[in-house]
């Protein structure tokens, strides 16, 4: 299979995955019991039929299901996500406002976890079986077993409530608003605890992949040769072993970045961070279906796009993958 046809195949696959994922959620949401009008406008007893009829028309709920589905799909192709039930404005705008807030948490913590995990993994492999290695293995095992939101609560209690080192929740200091560069510093200050929580939760997987494959590399002939010629142990690791173990954690990082829009909902909830996760929970509670589906669409497209790009990169780097399909 040539590169062009391989690329076409992957992109088409991704396209259909998105369509199927959208279809599933569309029918779930639209077959759900309960009329969204009542959730937003209140008890039907107090609503005049004219109001209900007006909103039913406005939101297109009077049309049959399949027609709404086709309209939704064709709107999506034109880049239209519709209007929010709650805010009235376009869904895209509501979502775009929240994206940077979530990404600033998830990208930062993923990159930090990747760097720290890789570094610690290599370091642990270097002292394989010794105290440092076991201590790190036990610690990361612990962070792998603790739910993120609970770790968030613990860190919030320790650093926010008892030690008073960091703000407990929120995006910025509202009582004492800052401007210019100080505003960004204030936001970073507020982001510290959520980022720390996410980093600690994400780190174990990077650590474990790097440590285990580095330990495996220790048995390889080239390591023995390098040791035999008297090369410094640190140099063997940082230069030679490093190159052989770095690919899996990079793949993991890429996949996780794909999920980064969806990944922080619980932690955002703990720390009152107004990102995508909060928007998602609010729009679920308020039955704001257009926003809900818009978020879902954005998340799925990101994930699929990242995985298609990853497949293509691998196809270029390793020609064997292409022939396997």
């Amino acid at each position: 299979m040539g590169l062009a046809s391989y690329a076409t195949k992957k992109i088409l696959e991704g396209f259909f995955t998105v369509i199927i994922a959208i279809t599933i959620i569309f029918f779930l949401v639209n077959l759900a019991p309960g009329n969204p009008i009542y959730f937003i406008a209140g008890d039907p007893v107090f609503l005049s039929p004219a109001v209900v009829e007006y909103y039913t028309k406005l939101w297109g709920l009077d049309k049959p299901l399949y027609e709404r589905y086709l309209i939704y799909l064709s709107n999506l192709f034109r880049g239209e996500l519709g209007n929010s039930y709650r805010f009235g404005g376009p869904v895209a705008q509501v979502i775009v406002e929240r994206i940077p807030l979530t990404l600033s948490l998830t990208i930062t913590s993923n990159v930090l976890a990747f760097i720290a995990g890789t570094f610690l993994g290599l370091r642990a492999a270097r002292s394989f079986g010794k105290g440092f290695d076991s201590a790190l293995t036990v610690t990361t095992f612990f962070f792998n077993s603790i739910p993120g939101f609970f770790l968030g609560i613990l860190l919030m209690l320790t650093f926010g409530v008892y030690l008073k080192l960091f703000p407990v929740a929120g995006l910025m200091d509202l009582r004492n608003p800052k401007t210019g560069i100080m505003l960004y510093l204030d936001i970073a200050y507020h982001a510290f605890l959520p980022v720390l929580t996410l980093t600690l939760i994400l780190l174990p997987a990077y650590f474990k992949t790097v440590r285990d494959s580095a330990v495996q590399q220790l048995g390889e002939d080239y390591v023995m040769t390098l040791r035999a010629v008297g090369m410094d142990e640190r140099r063997i690791f940082n230069k030679h072993v490093f190159r052989n173990v770095i690919l899996p954690p990079i793949t993991l990082l890429a996949i996780r970045l794909g999920f980064s829009l969806a990944g922080a909902a619980l932690i955002e909830n703990v720390f009152g961070w107004p990102g995508m996760g909060r928007l998602l929970l609010d729009s679920i509670r308020e039955r704001d279906y257009p926003v809900l589906m818009g978020i879902y669409f954005t998340i799925v497209v990101t994930i699929v796009a990242v995985s298609v790009v990853l497949d293509l990169i691998y196809g270029i780097l390793d020609p064997r993958i292409k022939s396997r399909g």
Binding site: V29, A32, F149, M156, L266
Partner: protein, 284 residues
């Protein structure tokens, strides 16, 4: 004869498993909490919903783990919560593993059209963030214990299906499968009698790990207020204690400690088994 062979084989692998220290430690941890969960109706603790005690009382001789915001005994709630959390974890992981094992092995064994459809299904479910889908389903259909189990199972089976598929792909090339074909066994017979038994161990180890993720997922969903309000689960208790986290931190912290303890136990067993059955997969 065949049965005797099977029993001695089982004993040998049991001995092999029990040689792994982390598995043993995990089993000890889990049997402790499991025993408490099974025995709690017969223990001398108050009913989990009876509000007979002063509110917000910290741990004391009368209420060893304190009371919550409605004056309910925390010890009773945490122990009954163990029943709920463990039941959800085990049932959800069990269901996910049945779906995953069946679909994964069918897709690995029958390439061609059936395999392609199942592969597509796995791919779609893999890009849908599980937690997101679970959230939507619970809000739309209202929360109950059974729906929680079902939702967690439906959103987590693809991982097991992928492991199973890879295993079946390699097992079906083995000589005994060819031999079974040569003597005229049918595909279904070969798949269920010969291929799946050889392919299943890593998927089973993964199912145990999946119990831990299911417990954590239930806790996360309950923490957002989407758990079943009628029963105390650990996640739900953390959620209920959240408003009083500063004045009465034990309401959230105690169920959290039980939660982490149990997940650690499950992960010790699951990781240990995975390492034994398939060293490559354990690198997670």
């Amino acid at each position: 004869m065949a049965r005797e062979l099977r029993i001695s084989e089982a004993l040998r692998s049991a001995r092999f498993i029990f040689r792994d220290r982390s598995v043993v430690a995990g089993i000890v941890m889990l049997s402790f909490i499991g025993l408490l969960a099974v025995l709690v109706p017969y223990l001398n603790v108050p009913y989990f919903n009876s509000m007979d005690f002063p509110r917000f009382s910290p741990p004391s001789p009368k209420n060893p783990l304190g009371t919550d915001h409605l004056g309910r005994d925390m010890l009773a709630r945490v122990l009954w919560g163990a029943r709920v959390s463990l039941a959800i974890g085990i049932c959800a992981a069990g269901l996910a593993s049945v779906i995953g094992i069946v679909l994964g092995s069918v897709s690995g064994y029958f390439r061609g059209r059936v395999g392609a459809v199942i592969d597509g299904l796995i791919n779609v479910f893999q890009v849908i963030p599980a937690f997101f889908l679970a959230l939507v389903l619970l809000v739309i259909f209202g929360s109950s214990l059974y729906l929680l189990m079902l939702v967690i199972a439906v959103t987590t089976w693809p991982m097991i299906a992928r492991i199973m598929r890879a295993q079946v792909l390699s097992v079906k090339e083995r000589l005994f499968v060819e031999a079974a074909k040569a003597i005229g066994c049918g595909d279904i017979h070969i798949l269920f009698k010969h291929v799946i038994p050889h392919a299943i161990p890593p998927a089973l180890a993964y199912t145990i790990l999946e119990i831990g993720s299911a417990i954590m997922m239930e806790a996360g969903l309950s923490y957002l207020g989407l758990g079943d309000p009628n029963y105390p689960s650990w996640g739900r208790m953390i959620y209920e204690g959240q408003p009083y986290i500063v004045s009465a931190p034990w309401i959230s912290l105690i169920p959290g400690v039980f939660l982490v303890y149990t997940v650690i136990g499950v992960n010790l067993v699951g990781n240990g088994l995975l390492k034994i059955f398939n060293p490559k997969l354990a690198q997670r």
